[in-house]
Amino acid sequence: MTTLPAAPSALELDRRRYRRRQTGRSVAVAAVSTVAFAVVVWLTIVNTPGWARVQSTFFDPAVAARAWPRVFQGLLTNLTVLVFAALGVLLLSILLATLRTLRGPVFFPLRALAAGYTDLFRGMPLIIVLYLVGFGIPGLGFTAERPPAALLGTVALVLVYSAYVSEVFRAGIEAVHPSQRLAARSLGLSHAQTLRLILLPQAVRKVTPALMNDLVAMQKDVGLISVLGAVDAVRAAQIETAASFNFTPYVLAGLLFVLLALPLIRLTDWYTARIRRREQMGAVV
């Protein structure tokens, strides 16, 4: 059974009217000042002596339309690489984080190996790893032909990002209250079961916002595989730019990257806010 809320008193109604007026006024002030600022910036840029030239070399609609098919094709390559790299990072980083949680002297070599790995690849610039993997692995001659550049690029991304992401997972595992481990072990669960059923699921919930941020960062860095010759959106834009002597294709590719990132960024913000709300409500997770 629900009871109807009591009708607000005249005093409360008056307060609400006042607050509404205040809110309306603030919104109006903010809107007017934003528009005024945008107009000033726009006029300043448009009236610079070089604007006409910049506009035709960076924002030419005709060039953009011509470049579109190739750049869009390239973006699909980026997306494919992103998906495979993300899956690879997830697997390798959980493996690394798990190795680092092993206790006891028996596992020292594995722990040390995982620690050395993360130190190495967190320190090394991605572009150098790309060159080493992209030109070093084919040099070993495992396969008769050179593996596709996109594949080599994916491997390099996985190597570097796993080092970061495994640290995120490790921090998440360590943030789970130690008595959760005790409770799990006292039920008779093994170390591996405790990790898989109790610690990792809670750790993943805690670090999901951080992981999503890393995914956004990786999505941008996927563009770097173009240095290996993979025809992704950046490389496609480069080809189109060379053909038209116009930089518009780069702007086009850049905007496409932003469009690709936006849903993920919004999702991250939404999820982070949701977690914060839950925590403020006193939820344990």
């Binding site: 409770a183 799990a184 039920l187 669960l189 059923l197 344990v284 997770v285």
Partner: protein, 255 residues
């Protein structure tokens, strides 16, 4: 004479230079309810963790049904599945529903199938009036309900022995009664229980034996009547004096 269910002989345990348990001998017969009392820091929790092999002893033996479970050749996971434990707090896994919490050990340690585990869990939850919360997550339950689920989870695998470590000391006073009532039911039904507690009235009422731990040794043990009414040791009297109120006819948990 048959072996006691649990036998501790000469248990010693140190953390660094601090000697926390200094030679504990204790027998617990099948169906016994033993209350461990003692000041904070006297070693009650450490002793319970030793029994459950969450701490390795420095010396002495832990025998469960005559088997030396402190032997390094014994698999600790298998032993722990035979001993149920409830701690003071953070018992339940917040990412699992009440039902999944209760069935976890049954499914993943005893390898019973899901249907069988859930049927048993629902029956136990029903007995404590929480069956309709089976699909809820622990954060939807009150502290008292959470502790009762933790107890049910601990007994869902039909362990030989139940260890309770101050399971009501983190609860609001009005939530304590239901939890103690559940423990009393289990005790009446013949469950073997070793419990560390500050609820002196409850210990007096439910325990078959009371063990007073003082700085890592058993200073006194006996029936509740002996320990609470006619303590032989001066330090027992001093400790009990701090609980004057519960010993003078106090509100006991409802039956």
């Amino acid at each position: 004479m048959s072996d006691p269910l649990l036998r501790l002989t000469g248990i010693r345990k140190s953390f660094g230079t601090a000697e926390v348990l200094r030679g504990i001998d204790l027998d617990v017969a099948e169906g016994d309810v033993v209350a461990l009392i003692g000041a904070s820091g006297s070693g009650k929790s450490t002793l319970l963790r030793v029994i459950n092999l969450l701490e390795r002893v420095d010396d002495g033996q832990v025998l469960l049904r005559g088997e030396d479970i402190s032997d390094p050749r014994v698999k600790p996971d298998a032993v722990r599945a035979r001993i149920g434990v409830v701690f003071q707090h953070f018992n339940l896994f917040p990412h699992l529903s009440v039902l999944d919490n209760v069935t976890l050990a049954s499914r993943h340690v005893l390898r019973r199938d899901r249907a069988e585990s859930e049927a048993r869990a629902l029956e136990l939850l029903g007995r404590i009036g929480l069956a309709e919360h089976a699909r809820s997550y622990p954060d939807r339950l009150s502290g008292g309900q959470q502790q009762r689920v933790a107890i049910v989870r601990a007994i869902a695998t039909d362990p030989d022995l139940l260890l309770l470590d101050e399971i009501t000391s983190a609860l609001d006073p009005e939530l304590v009664g239901d939890v103690l009532a559940l423990v009393r039911d289990l005790a009446t039904a013949g469950t073997t229980i070793v419990m560390a507690t500050h609820e002196m009235a409850f210990a007096r009422d439910v325990a078959d034996r009371v063990v007073f731990l003082d700085r890592g040794v058993i200073a006194e043990e006996g029936t509740p009547d002996e320990v609470f009414r006619r303590p032989r040791e001066q330090r027992t009297r001093e400790f009990l004096a701090r609980f004057s109120e519960p010993l003078a006819g106090d509100p006991l948990p409802r039956q």
